[in-house]
Amino acid sequence: MEREWSEYDLRQHIRSVIAAAAPIKNDVVEPTSQLTYDLGYDSLGVAELVMMLECELEVADIEPSGGVQIELVADLEDLIVGAVMPT
């Protein structure tokens, strides 16, 4: 998918994918939503989610740096944004 993203649009897109694939369907998915407790993701679910986003956004394997734990929606957004739009 060739596209120039603004950071805002990219974060909104990531959030929509997270919400669409979540085992628990919540009306509101916020940056502070917890992937596990609020949205029902387990570690396999998060890995599959990242794989889907990697495929969709055409980025290679994205790894969190510095041992950052991916717990919140915002953590995953930061990870993906960092890979798609490196500073």
């Binding site: 609020d38 029902g40 387990d42 599959e48």
Partner: protein, 359 residues
């Protein structure tokens, strides 16, 4: 058990249901209200906005709210973390500490219906072991520990052990998608390259409404019980085999996809555990991306449930579960359209490089 049969249950007392937003808890709450219990109060960690009769309580991490410190006729403990990939500490906190915390709200005469799992008996067919290696994962280990605590702490209790829970028999509706739905999600997203199983393995599933009916019936007899009884809710010998179940799920998903103009998925190959470990896995590991290797390793947590060759022996047998699978798939697809519509990206066998590349 249908809702119409509910009239035969006693009900009508006060009942507190923990885990009210979960797969089982939410169904039980709805059924108890339908059956006219005098008072049905739900506990959730984070109640949805606008929810009534729901009390916020992060069990085990917070003191119980004052409004819960009163007499309850029945407490249905459906609060649990069912992830198979938890650390031992996480599992203990989620599934054992919560039972400990309930002691502060359970009074003399309160009847406890504790929702466990048929797999709490682990690999030794017994919940007495404290050793992690006697269970398939930390979830089973923690549920066994919780059962031992229920027996010690609560004089009047029922321990309900269901197998894998799927959507309602009638329409496939379910509050959240876990367990078997992981397999479905993997098929739809093409993240499961193969199903590691044997021809004789069972996939024992129970519809959530059947299970909720049994739990509500048990709660309804709250004045009639003595001691601790154990109920195992399962399809048992009539459960579908894994290959049959996977075929039904793929057929249902593809029927849904075809209606929407999507190309059908090929069903994943069923590979024996021996072939997988000895041939496929060492070979494909060389050709997978780090992400694919990560997923293959995480999928290993699920494999034990696809390799159960001895049928569960139920006390409450659930019949005719096979037709419930396609309904659950259709419901899942409707609630997860984006996933259900994903194009197939099968893992192909490249004779030069081996299984691993996705098209």
């Amino acid at each position: 058990m249908t809702r119409e049969c509910a009239a035969s249950s006693r009900g009508s007392g006060s009942v507190l249901v923990t885990g009210g937003s979960g797969i089982v808890g939410s169904e039980v709450v709805e059924l108890l209200r339908h059956r006219g219990w005098r008072e049905v109060v739900t506990v959730c960690r984070r109640p949805a906005r606008g929810s009534h009769e729901v009390v916020s309580w992060d069990i085990g991490k917070e003191r119980p709210p004052a409004q819960l410190l009163r007499r309850w006729d029945v407490i249905v403990n459906a609060a649990a973390d069912t992830r198979w990939t938890m650390s031992a500490t996480e599992a203990h906190e989620a599934n054992v500490t919560t039972v400990e915390a309930l002691q502060s709200v359970i009074g003399d005469g309160t009847y406890v219906v504790h929702v466990s799992t048929a797999y709490a008996v682990g690999l030794k067919n017994d919940v007495s072991s404290i050793k992690l290696e006697d269970y398939r994962n930390t979830y089973e280990w923690s549920k066994a520990c919780a059962e031992r605590l229920v027996r010690e702490a609560f004089p009047y209790a029922a321990i309900v052990r269901p197998t894998l829970v799927i959507g309602r028999r009638s329409d496939g509706h379910v509050a959240r998608f876990a367990g078997v739905y992981t397999l479905l999600r993997g098929i739809a997203a093409s993240t499961i390259p193969a199903v590691v199983s044997t021809p004789s393995s069972y996939l024992d599933v129970v519809p959530v409404d059947d299970l909720a009916g049994i739990i509500a019936d048990t709660a309804g007899g709250w004045g009639d019980h003595n001691g601790v009884e154990v109920l195992t809710v399962a399809a048992g010998r009539t459960a579908p085999r894994v290959e049959e179940a996977v075929t039904m799920m793929v057929l249902a998903l593809n029927a849904w996809r075809r209606e929407r103009g999507c190309v059908p998925h090929d069903p994943p190959s069923i590979v024996s555990p021996d072939s997988w470990e000895r041939f496929f896995l060492p070979f494909v590991r060389q050709h997978l991306s780090p992400r694919q290797r990560q997923i293959i390793e995480l999928l290993r947590h699920y494999e034990p449930y696809l390799q159960i060759t001895k049928p569960i022996e139920p006390t409450h047998e659930i019949s005719d579960v096979a037709p419930c699978l396609p309904r659950s798939v259709c419901y899942w697809a409707g609630a997860n359209e984006r996933l259900a519509r994903l194009p197939a990206r099968p893992w192909i066998m490249d004779k030069r490089q081996g299984l691993g590349r996705r098209r």
